[in-house]
């Protein structure tokens, strides 16, 4: 399983990439896509939606089950990856890159102290 070094992770198998201007990009991990199996639908939020921390923002349906993605921080959805709505299989084939899900402009400081680093997440999924 791939666990890129430059990302942060949650125990719910989401990855978080810190960008400039207090923005973050999120997606699900290689482990998560592998557990879900073939992804067949991705339900993305509307751009400009205000979200609270731990709000359900993305639903990912596979042939096996439904995966839920929660906002890791409060903020506003500033972009979504329309490519995965068209081609849900990108979540399987490229979970950290072409299969990203949403971009959030975080309200206030981005506090990553509750998140896992690559090493910590790698241990979790071993």
């Amino acid at each position: 399983m791939q666990v890129p070094e430059h990302l942060h992770y949650t125990e719910e198998h989401e990855w978080i990439e810190q960008l400039e201007d207090s923005r973050i990009r999120i997606g699900i991990t290689d482990y998560a896509q592998d557990q879900l199996g073939d992804v067949v639908y991705v339900e993305l939020p509307e751009v400009d939606t205000e979200v609270a921390k731990e709000d359900l923002i993305v639903e990912i349906e596979s042939t096996k089950s439904v995966g839920e993605v929660y906002a890791p921080f409060a903020g506003k959805i500033v972009a979504v990856n329309d490519a995965v709505a068209e081609s849900p299989e990108l979540v399987n084939s490229s979970p950290y890159d072409e299969g990203w899900l949403a971009m959030i402009e975080v309200e206030g400081e981005i506090d990553t102290s509750d998140l896992l680093d690559a090493g910590g997440y790698g241990n979790l999924t071993e």
Binding site: G37, D38, V40, Y41, E43, E59, E61, T63, K64, V66, N92
Partner: protein
């Protein structure tokens, strides 16, 4: 947990496993969608060793089949197979199964894995019947797809006709075969000893047949509208409610007949109905359904149809509704539009 004697072969093919009715069986090798499409366009094989199977023989065998099962074995003859059900007194489906008729007093009965012991015991209690468990000493392989008949010819040198039995010698072993399956495609199911089964599986791999797991088996059967016992049918549903009237013969006496006679005279209060969604979303078991003509119900099976690339499902709707009626399925708080359609869902209609 039981394991198929073919387990190691699956491991070497990269299978992932799932617990299914006390059996650790392959759920997928590469991708459920890829395996599904292989079976719709070329051919795939499934290890279905977990399926129930026993031999029924004796002077009382035919009488027992006619008494316990709602389809009439007298509709067929030796060398043929029949889809049928065993009902309770109230017409509820204790199990559905295929019967293979070998010769006058010898049958194979193939119940669902979970019901093997119960169904075998019910037959054993009938006068003049001997039953012999086949499940633990044989393997069973399903070979399915539009190219499956060609694979039967090229690898085995024989193929069973549709709903017919056949036997063949294969590398020192004997294959017992029937032209049956659970995918809606051509092909058949093969029962043999574990060593012969291993050699056959390797030959199928060399022939380029796609290994398929229970994940694809489920999406294939659903897309074809084939019911799954425990999901779509059980002891609280009757064959007529489930749309399985083709496998009911009211012309003979059998357990549960009275209820079916009443239902065929007065109609059923609910009916298992095919749904094809036009909106985005996948119906899942337990989701609520409402039809534009006022019917309500619950989804019993649902998934993506990999061929239509849209959500499809089966749901009991009460009162029964007509083909083409608009419906909505509640997918986690959102009502998604769809239409009542007759499976198989993936076949072109015109």
């Amino acid at each position: 947990m039981n394991r198929s004697p073919l387990h190691q072969t699956h491991e070497s093919l990269g299978a992932r496993f799932v617990d299914f009715g006390g059996w650790e069986m392959p759920v997928q090798y590469d991708s459920v969608l890829a395996e599904h499409k292989a079976v719709r366009t070329s051919s795939g094989f499934f290890d279905v060793t977990h399926l129930g199977r026993f031999e029924l023989s004796g002077t009382g065998a035919v009488s027992a089949l006619r008494h316990l099962l709602c389809n009439d074995i007298d509709r067929i003859e030796p060398g043929r197979c029949q889809y049928t059900m065993i009902l309770n007194e109230n017409g509820g489906i204790i199990d559905d199964m295929i019967v293979w008729w070998w010769d006058s007093e010898t049958f194979w009965v193939l119940p669902n894995a979970a019901n093997q012991d119960r169904v075998m015991a019910m037959f054993a209690d009938q006068p003049g019947c001997d039953v012999q468990d086949l499940q633990m000493r044989t393997v069973m392989i399903a070979l399915q797809g539009p190219q499956a008949p060609d694979v039967f010819e090229s690898v085995i040198g024989a193929k069973p006709g549709r709903f017919r039995t056949a036997t063949a010698e294969y590398e020192g072993g004997v294959l017992s075969m029937a032209g049956t399956g659970y995918t809606g495609e051509a092909g058949g199911e093969i029962c043999t000893d574990p060593d012969t089964g291993r050699r056959l599986l390797q030959a199928l791999v060399r022939e380029g047949v796609t290994p398929c797991g229970l994940g694809a088996r489920d999406t294939l059967r659903l897309e074809s509208g084939l019911t799954l016992w425990g999901n779509d049918i059980d002891e609280t549903t009757t064959p007529l409610e489930a749309g399985l009237g083709f496998a009911v013969s009211l012309d003979h006496d059998f357990i549960g007949r009275d209820r079916l006679v009443a239902q065929s005279e007065h109609g059923v209060e609910r009916k298992l109905t095919g749904l094809v969604l036009s909106g985005r979303g996948i119906p899942r078991s337990g989701y609520d359904v409402r039809s534009d003509d006022g019917g309500v119900g619950t989804v019993t099976s649902g998934n993506l149809s990999p061929i239509l690339e849209t959500g499809v499902g089966l749901a009991y709707i009460s009162p029964p509704t007509d083909l083409g009626t608009g419906v909505e399925v509640e997918v986690r708080g959102r009502w998604v539009r769809g239409t009542v359609e007759d499976p198989p869902f993936h076949k072109e209609r015109g």
